[in-house]
């Protein structure tokens, strides 16, 4: 466990060092950490605070403000489903409910087997091909029941 923490600290320090020189470095650092670890580990916060000469509360406040920063690791797949108006106009809400049912989890939850995390997103800019979703960074338009079943099969594989 101690080894793990030490390893985390080294990796976090590397990311901070690489970004420290930019103006307003906190968001780029947090993005870098999330990219590295898949989430922002609590252990990383005091290190960032120390290196940027901020209080821990300030760093904590920034991390908790933004929807993107995850406090726990996500599932192997991350499925973001747009819940905004354009997607609602094309039956997005019924599809979202169907997805929850098929995956057996709600939004903001990760499946028990760690296969997938289901997240809401408010607009992917794919509003002329609604309903839309993003699976592991890949964009999907004109979602329908059949496509949803494919997605569920894909993330369970």
């Amino acid at each position: 466990m101690a080894m793990q923490t030490q390893d985390t600290a080294l990796r976090v320090a590397g990311i901070i060092e690489a970004m420290k020189g930019v103006d307003g470095p906190l968001l780029p650092i947090l993005h870098g950490i999330q990219e590295e670890f898949g989430h922002v580990p609590q252990d990383a916060l005091p290190l960032i605070a120390d290196r940027l000469n901020l209080s821990r509360a300030e760093v904590q406040g920034v991390v908790s403000f933004y929807h993107d920063f995850r406090r726990q690791p996500a599932g192997r797949h991350v499925l973001k489903v747009c819940r905004a108006e354009a997607c609602q106009s094309m039956g997005g809400e019924a599809l979202a409910a169907r997805l929850e049912q098929l995956l057996g989890i709600g939004f903001h939850e990760t499946a028990g087997d760690g296969s997938v995390t289901l997240e809401p997103v408010y607009c992917l800019g794919l509003c002329a091909c609604a309903p839309a979703a993003m699976l592991d960074g890949e964009v999907i338009g004109r979602l329908d029941e059949a496509r949803i079943e494919e997605i569920v099969a894909e993330v369970r594989r």
């Binding site: 103006d23 307003g24 470095p25 906190l26 968001l27 780029p28 947090l30 993005h31 940027l52 300030e58 406040g61 920034v62 403000f65 933004y66 929807h67 993107d68 920063f69 747009c82 905004a84 108006e85 354009a86 997607c87 609602q88 106009s89 094309m90 997103v121 408010y122 607009c123 992917l124 800019g125 794919l126 509003c127 002329a128 091909c129 609604a130 839309a132 993003m134 960074g137 964009v139 999907i140 338009g141 004109r142």
Partner: protein, 518 residues
């Protein structure tokens, strides 16, 4: 001549399968031993035809769409590399009615050129605005922009030239150009399309803004939901820097200007300019009170131009063709063109750039072709989640900042979301409150608490509890939010809520609720 095949790399086209079509075309070329050059262009914006593949032949350019991977073999069998007929043949792309009716100024190159080829950009009229700007005194550039009548395309509609003038005249050892690419409004994708399809026009616009105001550094704040746009902008900046379009001597002039991309982190409120500045500084994206204006004390306390992507991307053509040319389009105080984004439940969804002044009905019925579901149009939300819902009775409203304001609405970033008659407007009103509650930065009490109370009150209304009192409470809350919030999130959430209540009262009647519950 080797044929050139254009397959959009635009994320909307990709969401509809463009990458799979590209792979199928590559495989087919290989299997047949045929030579052709593939360009991943942007989208022309006719999403109902995407993935739309184009071929440039000796006879000109021809479009085919919507193409599925399974269509690729038959396209080749029918000689699509020479522009031959096929059941997916659409003819010359600029003759497609949806595209032929547009006035493409800002989006002139989007979907036409290779987004990362500066040669292609120049061959299609790019860079002429910046070339002119570097030979002009800064005040003269600012005057041209003011004269053009260009107003902030992000939604606020503030005259761009006036903002630039303030920054030009402000004292400061460092000034900044900040491009707001946090396009979070549902129903809008114009910023995304231009960043993915013609990134150089935004870079050129920002460089002109820098030269005009004395700012030497620029930031493009792009939302994290747009990974394709982030990638394209980053790569285009590298190309522009290498070509001397950015750097210590912009196009060989004494002006220095460089820029970088910053990525948001999923907070809608960061589309508000002062929240965005806080976010860029590495803080919580909380709204700042104005004054001080960002033009005087913006990023890191320095004079800062904060402009939307489309505002900045419209500047090069103004400098190139002149203020009078741009101003000639439009009506009243809404000059130039506006890229209208037609979205939601609509037959022909996409981006339609036109001079201000078309009526809402023309846009929805004639251009958009009515609903995709084939059912009657019930409502259209104009201007994103903070925009009003318009009923058919207001379809004669011309697309113009003031005309929409006069009907208790706003054009915002010019996104239009169409709903058919299955839409429940009470649900949509509740969603407006819920969205505001989720995204509120928490600074203003009316927004932070009002949005939560609003959603709760609509739930009570839906349950049939004290309908008269509940509705009165909702309008009272809206009034408080409208006048008691610093920014548009709390201040404009009343637009969708009150327009739903006022224009669709049947959806809020207790008996309707009771019937729906049965």
């Amino acid at each position: 001549m080797t044929p050139v095949i254009y397959i959009p790399g635009d994320s909307g086209a990709v969401a509809l399968g463009a990458d799979k079509v590209a792979a199928a075309i590559e495989a087919e070329l290989k299997a047949r031993g045929t030579q052709a050059r593939i360009v991943r262009n942007g989208s022309r914006g006719a999403y109902f035809l995407e993935p739309m593949v184009e071929v440039r032949t000796e006879k000109g350019r021809f479009a085919y769409g919507p193409v599925k991977p399974a269509d690729v073999r038959s396209l080749f069998d029918n000689g699509f590399l020479t522009g031959n007929q096929h059941r997916l043949w659409l003819g010359a792309p600029d003759k497609i009615p949806f595209l032929a009716g547009q006035t493409r100024l800002t989006f002139a190159r989007c979907g036409v050129t290779d987004p990362l080829s500066l040669e292609d950009y120049k061959a299609h009229g790019g860079l002429r605005g910046l070339e002119r700007a570097v030979s002009m005194p800064p005040a003269y550039i600012v005057e041209r922009v003011t004269e053009s009548g260009l107003r902030g395309r992000g939604g606020a509609g503030f005259p761009t030239g006036i903002k630039w003038k303030t920054v030009l005249e402000a004292a400061g050892d460092q000034k900044y150009i900040v491009c707001n690419a946090d396009e979070g409004d549902s129903g809008t994708f114009a910023d995304r399309m231009i960043m993915e399809g013609d990134p150089f026009v935004l870079i050129e616009g920002m460089a002109i803004a820098g030269v005009a105001t004395g700012a030497t550094r620029g930031f493009i704040y792009i939302r994290s939901e747009y990974p394709h746009a982030i990638d394209k902008m980053n790569r285009a900046i590298v190309v522009a820097r290498r070509a001397g379009m950015l750097g210590p001597a912009v196009l060989g002039s004494p002006n220095a200007f460089d820029m970088e991309v910053r990525v948001g982190a999923g907070a809608y409120v960061c589309g508000e300019e002062t929240s965005l500045l806080n976010s860029l500084e590495g803080k919580r994206g909380v709204v700042r009170a104005k004054p001080p204006l960002p033009a005087l004390q913006g990023l890191f306390g320095k004079p800062t131009v904060v402009n939307n992507v489309i505002s900045l991307a419209s500047v090069p053509i103004i400098l190139d063709r002149g203020a009078a040319f741009y101003k000639d389009f439009g009506l009243g105080r809404s000059r130039g063109t506006i890229p209208i984004q037609i979205a939601g439940n609509v037959k022909r969804g996409g981006l339609y750039e036109a001079a201000f002044g078309m009526t809402l009905g023309e846009i929805v019925d004639e251009i958009g072709g009515g609903t995709r579901s084939g059912r009657p149009v019930k409502a259209v939300q104009v201007g994103g989640p903070l925009g009003a819902y318009f009923p058919r009775a207001l379809f004669d409203t011309p697309f113009d900042y003031e005309a929409f304001a006069a009907k208790d609405g706003l054009i915002g970033h010019a996104g239009i979301v169409v709903f058919d008659d299955t839409a429940d407007m009470m649900k949509m009103a509740r969603f407006a409150f819920e969205f505001c509650a989720v995204e509120s930065c928490g600074k203003c009490t009316p927004c932070r608490i009002g949005a939560v109370r609003g959603a709760e009150t609509i739930d009570r209304l839906a349950a049939g509890a004290e309908p008269g009192e509940s509705l009165a409470l909702v309008s009272d809350l809206c009034n408080t939010m409208k006048f008691g919030s610093l920014c548009a999130l709390g201040g404009f959430t009343p637009y969708p809520v009150m327009s739903a209540i006022n224009h669709f009262p049947d959806d809020f009647r207790p008996q309707a609720v009771a019937e729906a519950a049965e």
